[in-house]
Amino acid sequence: MPGTVEVVNVAKSFRRSSEDGSLSVLNGIDLRIEGGTFCCLVGPSGCGKSTLLRIVDGLIKPDAGEVRIDGELVTGPSLDRGFVFQQFNLLPWRTVLANVEFGLENLGVPKGERHERARKVIKLVDLEDFESFYPGQLSGGMQQRVGLARALAVEPSHLLMDEPFGSVDDQTRMLLQEELLTIWEQSQKTVVFVTHDIEEALFLGDQVVVMRGRPSRITRIIDVPFGRPRADEVRGSPELAALKLEIWEELRAGATVEG
Amino acid sequence: MQPSKAEELRAEADDLHIEGERTAVTSVGPPATLAPIGSSRSILDHKWGLRLLVYGGILLAWQVTAMVKGEFFLPTIPATLAGIVHIFSEGYYVELLATLQQLATGFLIALAVAIPIGAVMGRFRFVEDLLSPWVNTLFVTSKESLLPLLIIAFGVAFWYRTWVVIIFAVFFPIINTAAGVRYVDRELKETARAFATSPGRMFTRVYLPAAAPFVVAGIRLGFGMAMKGMVIAELWVLQGTGELLSRFARAPRRLDLYYALVIIIVAFAVMVTEILKAVERRLRPVSSTKGTS
C-alpha cells in the first residue's frame, strides 16, 4: 500500500550551547511503517521521539541515515505530510477558518476553493459553528481540533502528530482520541503519533513502537491486537492492561539500567 | 494601572519590572529560526567581535570626516579628548557642578514627594482613582511648554531649574512605586496576613523588599527625565551646562569643547543608570520575575 515510511539508520545529536560537546539523542534508528498504518511512538519524555517525528517530516535533518517515503528521500517539509503540534501553534489574529486555510494558502489554492475545503474539514472536526471565532476564544480541545483540521485540509497522505493531546485535560483527550479515530478510519492515511501515554498509544494504534535510552533506540515494536473500528470497551479491557504493563516494564527496565 | 500604561513604561525603559511583565531588550535573543540556518561560529559571532568592528568603524569615520571637513564641522577625536581636559583645566567644570547641584536637589525633592505619593496610590484604591487621571495626563503632556510659566513664577534663579527637574522627574517614581505596592498587595499581602504579620513588619519585611526593585526602576527612569528637564531648562534660559552647550556650538564655535561636554554628560548619565540598574538587579529575587505573568 502506498505511503510506506522507511527510516534507515537515523542518528541525531544536538549541540549544547552551555557546554562544549553534544547530546546524542537518536542513534541507529531503523523503522518501517506500512502505508495506511496508525503507528504510535512511545517513550519517556526527552527520549527523542519528537525529534524522530520531525526528522520524518523533514523539519530536522538527521546527522546520519535517511528517511524515505514510498522510496523517495525526505529532504524537507512538504504538504504531503500534515503536522499537528502539541502547543497548537495557531495564529491568534486569524479566525478558525483562516487558520485552517493556512496550508491551503501555501499550496496556492484559490480563495473560493480554499473556503470550501476548509469548511469541509472544519465540519469534520465538529467546529462548524465556530468558524469565525478567534483561537483566544476557544478551549484547548477546540484549538487542537483546529490544528488537526489545518493539517487535514491540505489532504496529506501522512499525518504526523506530536503529543497532540498532551495539553488538554483527560476527558477532552479521550473525546479527541475517539474523534481522531473516526476521522482516520474514513481516510486510512498513514499516521505517526507520538505520545508518552501508553494507554493512548495502545488505544489508537495498529503498531506501538517503544523507544528508550540515551541515545534513544527502538527496543520493541508491538502489533496491537484489537480490531477496527476500536470499540470503547478496549479501554478498560484486560488485554490492554496486560500490554500496557508489558510496555511499562520495558520502559522502566531501560530507566534503571541506563539511569 | 491599565495594561497599556504598563506597556508604555516597558517600552520607555529597556529593563523594567512592572506587574510581572518583563521585557529586557538586551538579554532576549531573536528566534533562532529567523537567523540563517547553519551559521558557523565565526569571530563575528563573539559578543565583542562585531561590536568592536562597528564601533571602530564609526570612530574611524568620525576621525576621517573631522580631518576632511575641519574643526568647524567636526572635531577630531584627539581634539575632543583634549577638550575634555580643557573643560576641567579652563574652569568650565564649575558650571557643570552648579548644574549637578541643582539636579541633585531637584531630583531628591522629587523622589521625596513622588515615592510616598506612589506608595499611597498603590495601596489605596480610592487615592489611585482620584490621582491617576491627573498623573497619567500630566505624564504625557508637554512639560516643556510649562517652562515659561515657571520662569515667570520663579524668575531664572535657583528655584526655576529645581522646579523643572521636579516636574520632569516626578512621574516615573510615582507610577513605578505604585505598581510595586500594587504588586505586593496582589501577590504577597494575603500570605503575610495569614501569618499574622504586624503592620510594622509588613512594611519592613514585606512591602519594602518586594516593592524595592520597582521603586529603584522608577528612580532610574526618573533620573533620565530629570537630566532631560535640566538640559531643556538650561537651554531655554541659557544657564549652566546648557548655556555652555549652546555657547560652544555658536559663539565662538568650539565643537571640540561641545562634544567633550556631550561625552561627559553621556558618561555621567550612563554611569548613574548602570549603577541603578545593578542595584535593581540585586534587589530582584532570583526567580520570581517570570512567575506573575
Binding site: D57, P77, S78, L79, F83, L91, P92, W93, F102, G103, E105, V154 | S4, A11, E12, A13, D14, V25, V28, G29, P30, P31, A32, T33, L34, L44, K47, L50, R51, D129, L130, V140, T141, S142, E144, S145, L147, P148, L149, I152, A153, G224, M227, K228, V231, I232, L235, G242, S246, F248, A249, R250, R253, L255, V262, I265, V266, A269, V270, V272
Partner: protein, 257 residues
C-alpha cells in the same frame, strides 16, 4: 449581555469621576487665580478670553497646525526608520548585540543636549526640527519593534516551516502580524514623543508656530495669553495621544480575548 451592561455602568462611573475631577480642577484654578496666591496663576475666567483672542488675532490655529505638521513628518520618518531598524535588531542576534548598548544608552541620556549641534549641521528650519523629532521618537519605536519580533515563538515559526511556507512570506504572514501589537504600541508612544519633540523644536531651535506664540507671550509678560497657550498646547498634546490610543485600540481588537 449582562456583561456588557455592567461594563457600561462602570464606564459611566468612570466618566462621572473624571468629570468631577475636571470640575474640581477648574474650581481650584479659579480660586487660586483670583486670590493671587501664586504669581503666575491667572484664573480661567481671564485665560479663556485670552485663548479666544489668540485664536482670532494670534493665529493660534495655524501655529498649532505648523507644529503638528513638523511632528507628523518627523513621526513618519522616525516610524519607518524605526520599524526597519527595529526589525534588523529583532531578527539578527549579531546586530542586536552591536546596537543594543547604543539604543539602551539613548534612553538614559538627555537627547536635548544635541539641540545646539543640530543647529550647526541642519540649520534652524524645517529639516533641523524634523531631525530633532526623529531623534525623539525613533528609539522607542526601535525598541518596541525589536521586542515584538523577538517575541515570536519558535514553535510558531516551526509550524510555518512544517506547512512549507515560503521564507519570504514568513515575515509578512507570521512575524509582523505577531509583532504588530508591540510595533503599534511603539508607534503610539512615538506619536506622543513626536509632538513633544516638535514643540521643543519650535521653542528652542527657532521660535516658530506654537513656540513663537509662547515666546511672544512670555516676552510681553502677557500672563493670561501665556497660560492660554500652555493650556491649549496641553490639550492638543492630550488629544493627539488620545487619538493615537484610539487607533491602536481599533487595530488590536482581535486581542481582546
Amino acid at each position: 449581555m449582562t456583561h456588557r451592561r455592567r461594563a457600561q455602568s462602570i464606564d459611566r462611573q468612570k466618566l462621572a469621576r473624571w468629570g468631577a475631577s475636571i470640575a474640581l480642577f477648574f474650581i481650584l484654578w479659579e480660586i487660586v487665580g483670583q486670590s493671587g496666591l501664586i504669581l503666575s496663576v491667572v484664573p480661567p475666567t481671564d485665560v479663556f478670553p485670552a485663548l479666544a483672542e489668540l485664536f482670532r488675532d494670534g493665529g493660534l490655529m495655524s501655529a498649532t497646525l505648523g507644529t503638528l505638521w513638523i511632528a507628523a513628518v518627523g513621526f513618519l520618518i522616525g516610524g519607518v526608520l524605526g520599524v526597519v531598524f527595529g526589525t534588523v535588531i529583532g531578527t539578527s542576534e549579531r546586530w542586536a548585540n552591536v546596537w543594543d548598548p547604543i539604543v539602551s544608552g539613548a534612553f538614559a541620556v538627555p537627547i536635548s543636549m544635541f539641540i545646539p549641534v543640530i543647529t550647526v549641521y541642519l540649520g534652524l528650519e524645517f529639516e533641523a526640527k524634523v531631525a530633532l523629532v526623529v531623534l525623539f521618537n525613533i528609539f522607542v519605536i526601535i525598541v518596541n519593534t525589536a521586542t515584538g519580533i523577538r517575541e515570536v515563538p519558535e514553535s510558531i515559526l516551526e509550524m510555518a516551516r512544517a506547512f512549507n511556507t515560503d521564507r519570504r512570506d514568513v515575515y509578512r504572514r507570521i512575524v509582523f502580524p505577531w509583532a504588530s501589537p508591540y510595533i503599534i504600541t511603539g508607534l503610539r508612544i512615538g506619536v506622543g514623543r513626536s509632538v513633544a519633540g516638535a514643540i521643543l523644536a519650535d521653542l528652542l531651535l527657532r521660535a516658530q508656530n506654537l513656540g513663537l506664540v509662547i515666546r511672544e507671550a512670555q516676552g510681553s509678560f502677557q500672563l493670561a495669553e501665556l497660560l492660554a497657550a500652555v493650556f491649549f498646547i496641553t490639550i492638543v498634546a492630550a488629544l493627539t495621544m488620545g487619538l493615537a490610543r484610539l487607533v491602536e485600540w481599533r487595530l488590536m481588537r482581535w486581542k481582546t480575548s
